[in-house]
Symmetry: C2
Subunit: 552 residues, 2 copies
């Protein structure tokens, strides 16, 4: 016999609704209709729209898409910088039942063409800045499926170098109903977004997000930052990157302000911060580094207590100190596209405040603990799928389970099955777990260097390189070696005016590393980075083969 | 053909976990093990436990319950004030898979016996303060099912007047495993709590909460209050009332502090606020009234900016002013047991700040808008189930839909079906909706007075009574009348030392009300209140029949 608690108590329309971030903007528009939602530009001529206006535009977008025959489970690709249409795309497209595919704006035409084909996009919204590359991508596209082209116009950019069609974004919206009666997803498992990973080999994989996960991670962002209502969020992080770590939905949940930003530039960023009273922003280390290293004159009169979130690499001590000098509060998070952006956080312990900067930086460099509403993160032995000892030494793979994980990879059941093998999402990152439960990445599985049978963590070597006062950025990869199999090869970007030699760098490493870990080659120059500021190690691996070895 | 977004992308253990508030305490204990979780009492001898300790005790409780044969879907009743075991019950009982039934400690033995029988409780945890009434309830109980009795001991109360059995709470816990490997619910729809409504007629109904709703409302509490991590929450609101509006789970989600409180008393409350640095508390209007009207000497040195939440009745202007004088920030929420406590909030608009106190009080007296993660609240015409015009005039019934609504009433499919008829939860409260979308209650369905064919809102008459300077509390009910069918009868509690006469009250009402709305009888005396501070109108209705009419 079933329990009394399972009898006659089913779900119904009154007591169950699919979780979705779409309700967030509806509530913001209802409760705070006249609050600022979006600001684009500076000064008198800046574009400002309230939540009521933004919501009406999102409904117009949804309505216009429906009229264009685009609805449930249709893909709508966008190639947009962090401008108002990009904010609107995060609501209007799923309000039509469609799936938002935000394309990385730094990609080449071939890759974009692949994504348009693979994702089966039925419409593309494109910014004038990317008209040329989109034109090329469209020519390379193989699908015979018609594609609705929608072209944004933006006074802050100027005219597009080429027109792709005849339909502007504003004209398209004008045909839509601002009172459109959109419906939320029928199932919270329905897709809301498609994000291609910038895979280092092979074709990009299409990570599918669902409404439930988007809502849960958007709220987790609030919880981590104690983010108050009406927070003012500056868009330094590209919204095409894991949907801006779900922050378009977070900002709506807080009826906050989206401060748009076309380009990451210290003068613009500091100017926006002062003018709009920015309270929060996110970015890769390179973004924070730009701010820390900006001329002092740019830093005057900044709002105090700005909260910053960093992911992509652990912030070095110098960055933490620089942020403190700015009066900013830096939070280190970690995640991947597959887990909606941040899925762990290095939650600070008040006891750390008393420690010196080196120790604080060491503790804060860890990837930390599970994000608030993520169910579990563990470092597991890849063979046994059991937790490694929490000794800060034993390596395993970071694995996640819970509501902050993708539906899977689009049209790729094999990759999906591999990613979720054993009921955990496999991050591919190798890490240790400390006695306090905090996780620290030691390396990507594929970034480990195996030299004479010994594993070398490229991150450990990089940490040492970053401690050299003349090093701005560093990356270490494996260099094929006839004798050792592989040896570490260091690529180093020096600070302006630095006079350091490769031999100096090696000498520095010898002081801090076991001999077999010391780079056998050191190459100076600008490092190749992805659109999100991550160093492209696959490119460096190509170069490493021809790098000149130093006699260590 | 199904969409590409529905192919090969199913839920699995890696990307789906049942929502539950139980993960909140696990995370608090992992990330903030040494942070204070519970404090009970004042000064040196106060009991203090960290999140690690509290979590270990909850696991012991769950483990001990399992050893006692209590598990999935078994009911565990508790008759506890706001003490540490009550906090632990909110986690330990559901960690065993069981369902927490927090009994209203102000109920009589007959009602408690009914609840123990109806809920099929397999165990009871009882505080010494309620040993006598529980002894009587056990004697009245009809079920032959064995009942595990667990008796709390508390130095702050002293010895129980009678021992009911032989097992103390601490002994019971001592038999449990502090590392017990509890499992979350298999389904987020599983029951977590059973709360009996204090029905005014008939037997109490058992409202069943599920894990998903408890988690969603607990997080909504954070969002409404912008509640930061490590908030210090004072337990003025009984945890037996809608599980303390879900705040035991909210406080865990914030790794905050539960400041326990056995009895609502201004000296104790202000003392706790000062000593423990309280930042947040909730209560019925009577609780806030007690604080506002406390002697000035008690109010010295209070923490500033304390956030207070009020529900159960709209806060009058005098209370809002009094709270402002204290430096407290008052938020008006509205809900019912069936919607986990608060499910709407009178979200303040910054434009209101410039208004005079009367206007602010009028705006703030509204029940407002849906709670953050509730999907919808509407005032619907009861016949057509369509929204009433947002004109502030047209009455309808407040109805909810979304994730903040009960599973239903235990073993009462008919009441459940009625409550959810038409796919909305029917609150039974009659209200209007304003052009800004805010809702204002005009009356309970059953509290409306029909006099000579005209509807009289008892709340409208009460609002006028409250404006009389000598009125401390007031309630208006229908008095049977041979000529008019019903007439309004006022019950008034005067402030100490007031010399007002019933005739003065009537004269005051005539100034502000249409003639047919003026009370035909005015009765002075203390008003009967429920355990949660609500005035018991059913009791007043009984008295109204014999109240002496005044010649109006």
């Amino acid at each position: 016999m079933s329990s009394i608690y399972d009898q006659d108590l089913p779900r119904n329309d009154a007591n169950f609704a699919p979780l979705s971030p779409l309700g967030f903007i509806e509530r913001a528009a209802q409760v705070y209709p006249n609050r600022l939602a979006v600001v684009h530009g500076r000064g008198e001529q800046a574009l400002r729209r309230t939540w009521a206006q933004t919501y009406a535009r999102c409904r117009q977008l949804a309505s216009a898409l429906r009229q264009a025959g685009i609805g449930k489970n249709d893909t709508v690709a966008v190639m947009l910088p962090n401008t108002p249409p990009m904010v609107e795309a995060h609501f209007g497209i799923p309000m039509a039942g469609a799936v938002l595919n935000a394309l990385n704006t730094r990609l080449d035409a071939e890759t974009i063409a692949f994504m348009l084909d693979h994702g089966e996009a039925k419409a593309v919204i494109v910014d004038p800045e990317f008209a040329l590359v989109m034109q090329k991508a469209l020519a390379l596209r193989q699908s015979p499926q018609p594609l609705q082209l929608i072209e944004v116009e933006d006074d802050l950019y100027g005219p597009a170098p080429v027109r792709l069609g005849t339909l502007t974004y504003e004209d398209f919206l004008a045909g839509g109903d601002p009172d459109f009666a959109w419906e939320g997803p029928a199932d919270e498992w329905d897709a809301i977004a498609l994000n291609y990973t910038s895979g280092t080999t092979g074709n990009p994989k299409g990570v599918v997000y669902h409404h439930r996960g988007a809502a849960v991670n958007a709220i987790s962002n609030v919880l981590e930052w104690d983010m108050p209502k009406h927070a003012v969020y500056l868009w330094t992080l590209p919204m095409f990157h894991c949907n801006g770590w779900c922050f378009p939905w977070t900002v709506a949940a807080r009826a906050g302000v989206n401060v748009c930003l076309r380009r990451v530039d210290p003068e613009a960023i500091f100017g926006m911060m002062r003018e709009h009273g920015v309270t929060h922003y996110c970015g890769a280390p390179i973004v924070h580094g730009l701010l820390v290293n900006a001329p002092a004159a740019l830093k005057e009169g900044l709002p105090s207590g700005v909260k910053a979130m960093v992911a992509g690499a652990a912030p070095p001590a110098s960055m933490i100190e620089g942020m403190e000098a700015l009066g900013f509060d830096l939070t280190h998070v970690y995640g991947l596209t597959e887990v909606y952006g941040p899925a762990t956080v290095c939650a600070k312990d008040e006891a750390w405040d008393a420690l010196d900067i080196g120790e604080r930086a060491r503790l804060n460099a860890r990837q930390g603990v599970r994000y608030h509403l993520q169910r579990e993160v563990q470092v597991l032995n890849q063979d046994t799928m059991t937790p490694v000892p929490h000794d800060g030494e034993t390596m395993g793979e970071i694995m996640f389970r819970g509501n902050i994980a993708m539906k899977g990879y689009l049209k790729n059941p094999q990759a999906t099955a591999e990613a979720f093998a054993g009921g955990w999402f496999h991050s591919g990152d190798l890490a240790v777990q400390y006695p306090d439960g905090y996780i620290k990445i030691k390396d990507r599985s594929k970034d480990i260097i195996i030299s004479g049978g010994e594993n070398i963590s490229s991150i450990e070597v990089e940490d040492v390189l970053y401690r050299h006062p003349d090093v701005l950025a560093a990356a270490v990869v494996a260099k094929p070696d006839a004798r050792w199999g592989e040896t570490p090869c260091a690529f180093v970007e020096l600070k302006a005016g630095a006079q350091t030699t490769p031999e100096d760098i090696v000498a520095h490493c010898k002081k801090h590393l076991a001999g077999f870990k010391v780079p056998r080659a050191v190459v100076f120059g600008e490092l190749p980075k992805t659109s999100t500021g991550k160093i492209q190690k696959f490119e460096l691996r190509r170069q490493a083969g021809s790098a000149t070895a130093i006699n260590v």
